[in-house]
């Protein structure tokens, strides 16, 4: 079986990129928690990881204006539906944002741990238990 190093790191590398993008969006929400008319945004982590899977589903483009599914560089940023809209038009919920940051940080660290383990395993295979 040929060793494909890209395949070993691919999923977790994508998870790291997605995680850092999501924390960026959440940081913008928290920064604008007191800005009138700011609408909170987020990315759908699960759907984005599904899109970033090893074999992304490709749609056939028959017209020049057709978009592909897997060729997005940046994941789409969506607007959050507020539980409790405030009077000034701001839809940021500080508790929800903090919880999402904590969750994303945990996912990020989990991916880092997996990557570290894989790197350690590869090193062990290369050096032969030295």
């Amino acid at each position: 079986m040929p060793l494909d190093i890209n395949a070993i790191f691919d999923t977790h590398a994508k998870s790291l990129a997605l995680g850092s993008q999501r924390i960026g969006v959440l940081a913008a929400n928290i920064a604008n928690a007191d800005t009138p008319n700011y609408k909170a945004r987020d990315i759908d982590f699960k759907a984005a990881m599904r899109d970033a899977g090893p074999e992304p589903v490709r749609m056939r483009g028959t017209q020049p204006g057709h978009f592909g599914v897997g060729d997005r560089e940046q994941t789409e940023v969506l607007y959050r539906i507020p539980d409790q809209p405030s009077e000034d038009g701001n839809t940021v919920d500080a508790q929800r944002e903090s919880a999402a940051v904590a969750e994303t940080a945990l996912r990020y660290q989990a991916s880092l741990s997996f990557l570290n383990m894989r790197i350690r395993g590869l090193k062990l295979a290369i050096t032969g238990s030295r």
Partner: protein
């Protein structure tokens, strides 16, 4: 690199909340200021926050900016105090229009928002440091 942008975003939020704390401090300091005409009376000032995007292509990292500091246009209260040094010819002084309760609420809100930003900053710093030590 998205994690590095977070430092700009949270930094702008912390700066904006600091401006808000500053206006609150000067409002509270001037809550008892008297004047001899409504024009001279101290008026509470409040910062106006606005979202600022880093670039047209990256609408995810949106910081915040203080676009101006506007005075509160509530009319100052007129009180009869003939003994006051600032009293006008009829013995009236004009108090500042600072609402102490509003200011205290503003202060708590600003300090909580600042804390949230610091927390996000610390989290992303830790993630960056861990990413840097990947594979060691």
């Amino acid at each position: 690199m998205s994690l590095l942008n977070i430092f700009d975003v949270t930094g702008s939020a912390m700066a904006a909340q600091t401006v808000r704390m500053n206006t609150t401090a000067s409002n509270l300091a001037n809550a008892e200021t008297t004047a001899s005409s409504p024009e001279e009376a101290y008026r509470a000032r409040n910062p106006v926050f606005q979202t600022v995007y880093r670039s047209a292509f990256d609408d995810a990292s949106a910081g915040v900016r203080v676009t101006g500091i506007l005075p509160n246009d509530t009319e100052p209260q007129r009180v009869y105090k003939p003994g006051d040094a600032m009293a006008d010819d009829d013995g009236y002084v004009y108090l500042s229009n600072v609402n102490v309760v509003d200011e205290l609420v503003n202060m708590i809100s600003a300090s909580r928002s600042y804390q949230s930003s610091v927390e996000v900053l610390n989290t992303s710093k830790e993630l960056l440091m861990r990413t840097l030590s990947l594979g060691q």
